[in-house]
């Protein structure tokens, strides 16, 4: 396995004003090649205007087993959800 290229997570901005979204992952020897590979694998159909890549090993992730303490306390706090506002259509994507 040591001969395998590292895994990179790929984030693509679909259009100006939107945020980068995770679209998938790929293997590449370094960041520059990861961007090239991402261009070839994930933007073949004109999906993007900007690409970020990050080596998967550099991502710190929450643990699934911490689900209870991490997220459940907010379930009972509905007043934190901004569901009481009408958002005009003109605002577009939020």
């Amino acid at each position: 396995m040591s001969n395998e290229w590292p895994l990179w997570e790929v984030f693509i901005r679909g259009q100006h004003g939107m945020s980068h979204r995770h679209v998938g992952s790929l293997h590449a020897p370094d960041g520059e090649m990861a961007i090239k590979n991402a261009r070839d694998v994930y933007t073949r159909r004109n999906e993007g205007v900007s690409i970020w890549v990050v080596e998967a090993a550099n991502i710190s992730a929450s643990s699934p087993s911490g689900k209870g303490p991490l997220y459940e306390p907010s379930n009972s706090k509905v007043y934190r959800h901004p569901t009481f506002f009408d958002i005009p259509d003109d605002v577009g994507a939020m």
């Binding site: 290229w5 293997h27 590449a28 520059e32 090649m33 090239k36 590979n37 261009r39 070839d40 694998v41």
Partner: protein
């Protein structure tokens, strides 16, 4: 030789280069060393097919005998093909395929750069579209040459062997003939020889980064531009043209 006769020949050269190279690159699909390279090679092959349609389409128009890009691609025999011998070289290993790609990309990017200023707007327009694709091809192949050349001992040796094997096929790119001279006079295309210094500078810089050595002795295999090909082209065409030869006019 009239302007249009020369232009027709020149367009065949451009279109046959991209067509034959596209076929060679497409031979990797499903066989590349990694999935990412497989898709990247497929993209390159598709770009080249697109360029072929434009160059041969215009060639048919200039010829004025009603031949389409498809007619020209699928119904001409080897001696009517005008591609450089370089692009019909067998793929070899992945490194050799990328070396062939790099040597060609460097030439094609310079050629298209000059064609942007062609006195024939149809040529300039196709060059404008193709040059963006080729800029990316060159970036990718050059990076791969440096990565593999300046990589492990194994990859370095393979890249050096690829360069040694292909180098003698690069001289043909810069041999001018009557076609080049007529088009240079008309301001339609640069004289083939005029690209040599820039190409050597560009290729030399990348190969130096890649710690590869340009062979000291060089011989220029030539003939492709006038229809004298290696035995490989016949096999490529047998594969590529089979359907139209066996079932004339077949479409879907």
């Amino acid at each position: 030789m009239t302007r249009d006769e020369a232009l027709f020949e020149f367009l065949l050269r451009l279109g046959d280069n991209t067509s034959i190279l596209s076929h060679r690159v497409s031979e990797w699909i499903g066989h590349s060393p990694v999935l990412e390279e497989d898709i990247a090679l497929a993209n390159t092959a598709l770009d080249l097919i697109g360029q072929t349609q434009l160059w041969l389409g215009l060639a048919g128009e200039i010829e004025g005998k009603g031949r389409t890009a498809d007619n020209l691609a699928y119904l001409r025999d080897a001696w009517d093909y005008r591609n450089l011998l370089l692009v019909e070289r067998p793929n070899g290993d992945f490194g050799k395929t990328m070396m062939r790609q790099f040597l060609f990309d460097a030439w094609q990017s310079l050629m298209l750069g000059k064609l942007l200023a062609s006195s024939d707007p149809r040529v300039a327009e196709i060059a404008a579209k193709a040059s963006k694709e080729v800029a990316y091809h060159l970036e990718r192949s050059a990076d791969t040459i440096v990565g593999l050349g300046d990589g492990t001992e194994e990859s370095h040796n393979r890249m050096q062997a690829a360069l040694d094997d292909l180098w003698d096929y690069t001289g043909e790119m810069f041999i001018s003939d009557e076609v080049d001279e007529v088009l240079a006079t008309e301001g339609i295309a640069p004289n083939a020889a005029s690209l040599k210094a820039e190409w050597e500078e560009l290729v030399g810089r990348i190969l130096t980064d890649a710690t590869l050595t340009i062979p000291a002795k060089s011989y220029a295999h030539k003939g492709g531009k006038s229809g004298v090909h290696t035995e490989h082209l016949g096999f490529i065409l047998a594969d590529m043209q089979f359907l139209q030869r066996a079932y004339p006019g077949a479409s879907w």
